[in-house]
């Protein structure tokens, strides 16, 4: 430890003491209810980090705070208590007991806790039906496919009602199609359960898809931490950039992240507008008092309105609206050449505009400075 503090690196420590440095000075804070991805290649220390959380690996120094309680100095008794009630775990190779039926595996954590048979059976049946395996409760794990077995692993972890879930490469041993299915399943479950999930993976795509935030590890150190979008936009180092190069940006970013924030031009109750349009050559959206779009006004028509014509009859319905949370891949699908795009929020209010080049430049790997100008026209 002193060597590390004094600035020696991992190789020096290994050479001088024979001790392998698993993790060096990693500090993370995981927000409750988030899926927090710990991503790294093999040997990067990601599993070591996650296993320190429930002390399957004993950290040699440092703190693990769970709601303010430090888990490192805990005695056996209290640690078991935490493992039984607060933190549960899903394993890469499922780790189901082959001699026990699915339902017995599911209720395993409750049994260890001493919950009476009937109660834990009921709870296990409940959780099994949540993961869609109610029919298989009285079968043995070897009768199930890999994806189904991991659902049992997930059910076992959910059954204890722990609020923290460690998923150690939980989907890595599954076929690609089943993996995608399980990822969607996890996202679906997470909407109901709102657990704090620590998900270890070596798959950057998986990290982007599931993660609320991602921590990237290398050589036992934390190299980058942030939301998926932050990491892709600003990798910060060549190591991280190498991961981001191949990914499908159109599925990662939504319309809100690249739009030009804009307010429409309000039309007064009498059907006139009080603003003079600047000659930008761009179409403008006219909105009502609630900021809902009434129609688009082309550049030519803007000049006519400037000249005193009432905008009402000139408004065109030839525009496209996309919700703010639509991924770019879907935005591109509804794009019509020559028609302006409006970004609306959940209540249908106009919050921004999009141009084709904005979509293209974000999907392409080049990182352009984010257009950040506020609405070109103000009321």
């Amino acid at each position: 430890m002193q060597m590390l503090a004094a600035g020696s690196n991992k190789d020096d420590v290994l050479a001088k003491t024979g001790a392998v440095v698993g993790l060096n000075n990693v500090t993370l804070s995981v927000p409750a209810g988030a899926i927090y991805m710990i991503m790294g290649l093999s040997g990067s220390g990601k599993s070591t980090l996650a296993r320190c959380i429930n002390r399957l690996n004993e950290p040699s120094s440092g703190k693990i705070l769970l709601d303010g309680e430090d888990l490192v100095p805990l005695d056996e008794e209290r640690l078991r208590e935490i493992r039984r009630t607060r933190i549960s775990m899903v394993f890469q190779h499922f780790a189901l007991l082959p001699n026990k039926r699915v339902i017995e595996n599911t209720e395993f954590g409750l049994k260890l806790r001493g919950v009476p048979l009937q109660e834990r059976r009921r709870r296990a049946e409940e959780v099994l039906s949540v993961v869609g395996l109610a029919r298989w409760a009285y079968h043995f794990p070897h009768e199930l496919s890999g994806g189904m077995r991991q659902r049992v692993g997930l059910a076992r972890a959910l059954a204890t009602d722990a609020d923290v879930l460690i998923m150690d490469e939980a989907f890595s041993a599954l076929d690609p199609l089943i993996r995608t299915e399980m990822q969607d399943e996890l996202l679906r479950l997470q909407r109901t359960f709102k657990k704090t999930i620590l998900f270890i993976t070596h798959d950057f795509q998986e990290a982007l898809k599931l993660g609320t935030r991602i921590a990237i590890m290398s050589e036992g150190e934390l190299v980058r931490e942030g939301t998926p979008q932050q990491i892709v936009l600003e990798p910060g180092s060549d190591y991280v950039a190498a991961f981001t190069r191949e990914i499908d940006r159109s599925r990662l970013f939504d319309a809100r992240s690249i739009m030009t924030a804009a307010q429409g031009i309000s039309q007064t109750a009498t059907g006139s507008v009080t603003t003079k349009f600047a000659a930008t050559g761009e179409p403008v959206f006219i909105v009502d008092a609630d900021n809902r779009i009434l129609g688009a006004l082309s550049a030519t028509d803007q000049r006519r309105v400037n000249g005193g014509t009432s905008p009402g009859p000139l408004l065109s319905g030839e525009y496209v609206t996309v919700p703010a949370n639509a991924k770019l891949v879907d935005v591109a699908r509804v794009y019509r050449s020559g028609q302006p795009m409006a970004v609306i929020d959940e209540s249908g209010k106009l919050i921004g505009t999009l141009a084709a080049e904005q979509i293209l430049s974000r999907i392409a790997a080049t990182s352009h400075p984010q257009p950040s100008s506020p609405g070109d026209q103000n009321v």
Binding site: R83, R84, I87, A95, F108, L112
Partner: protein, 311 residues
């Protein structure tokens, strides 16, 4: 000058003789204490095995073999037992069987816990392993020396020798079985908050069972071999038949003893071997076993219950 015969300097034989005499004199209560439970259990088993009527016993073994192993082995067991009876050595065979079953019982009671201790602590294993090594490389014949000196001659000292010879494989396999349980399984137990006892009973022992049963098979075979060898120190049973046959140059009688031993050994080996093999878990109730066995000509398996079962 360098003739090996002239180099007799250490009178090891004398030392050992003295040492054992001292042990036999001073530690007599200990050996009696060891002998008592063995004697009680052995005479009980011997009594029971001799009391069960022959046809009932054949049927019981056949059922047991069917339930634990397969139809073929059940058939083989029944035929073997009947052949042993036809050769006129039924009573001796039962005595040998009582030596073996008692040894299995005692070995399990002693061996499995020692094996568990070994698996849980490297320092215990480091002490036990060399002892097992010595015990397993010692020819069974050599066991008889200390046994005779400390326990005397007869069937009960013979049983002590059988147990001593047969216990090591079970200890070894129990230790290995528990140590070989996948790390992830143990971690799963720990991650869900299992304490040491729960870890052992819920995860380690159940997953080690196939290996432990493999050890039990070895133990049964060693006990079989030893139960014959101990005829030399006066233990009764099939071994004595062979020994007496040889002594009187009665080749026929010796051969009958030999054949009966082989049949018994094969029967026990097949049954315990099948037990150790992982098989798909299916419910073979005793009643179904009986039914199936009675319709021995029919080849197909009875339909097994599937789907949800009451718990």
């Amino acid at each position: 000058m360098f003739d090996a015969e002239d180099l007799y300097i250490f009178p090891v034989d004398v030392w050992i003789q003295k040492g054992v005499e001292w042990l036999a004199l001073n530690l007599r209560p200990i050996f009696l204490a060891i002998k008592w439970p063995v004697e009680t259990l052995l005479s009980f088993n011997d009594y029971v095995l001799h009391q069960i009527p022959f046809p009932v016993f054949v049927l019981l073994i056949a059922l047991l073999a069917y339930r634990l192993a397969s139809r073929g082995i059940a058939l083989f067991s029944a035929v073997s037992l009947i052949a042993i009876a036809f050769m006129g050595v039924w009573s001796e065979a039962m005595t040998t069987l009582s030596l073996i079953t008692t040894a299995i019982l005692i070995c399990t009671i002693i061996g499995v816990p020692i094996g568990i201790l070994c698996a849980r602590s490297d320092s215990v294993w480091n002490i036990v392993r060399p002892v097992l090594d010595v015990m397993q490389t010692t020819p069974t014949f050599v066991y008889l020396v200390p046994v005779v000196m400390l326990f005397g001659v007869g069937t009960v000292p013979g049983e002590v020798a059988v147990v001593t010879a047969a216990a090591p494989p079970l200890i070894r396999f129990t230790n290995i079985g528990i140590r070989m349980v996948e790390k992830e399984m143990v971690e799963a137990g720990l991650a869900f908050g299992a304490n040491n006892r729960q870890l052992l009973w819920e995860i380690q022992l159940p997953l080690a069972i196939p290996t432990i049963l493999g050890g039990l098979n070895q133990t049964v075979l060693t006990a079989m071999v030893m139960s014959v060898v101990v005829a030399m120190i006066g233990a009764e049973g099939l071994g004595l038949v062979v020994l007496q046959g040889l002594g009187r140059l009665d080749v026929g009688r010796a051969a009958v003893g030999g054949i009966a031993i082989v049949l018994l050994a094969m029967m026990l080996d097949r049954i315990t071997q099948k037990m150790a093999q992982p098989k798909d878990v299916k419910a073979k109730s005793w009643f179904r076993s009986l039914l199936a066995l009675l319709q021995i000509g029919r080849v197909q398996q009875l339909p097994l219950p599937t789907g949800r079962r009451t718990v």
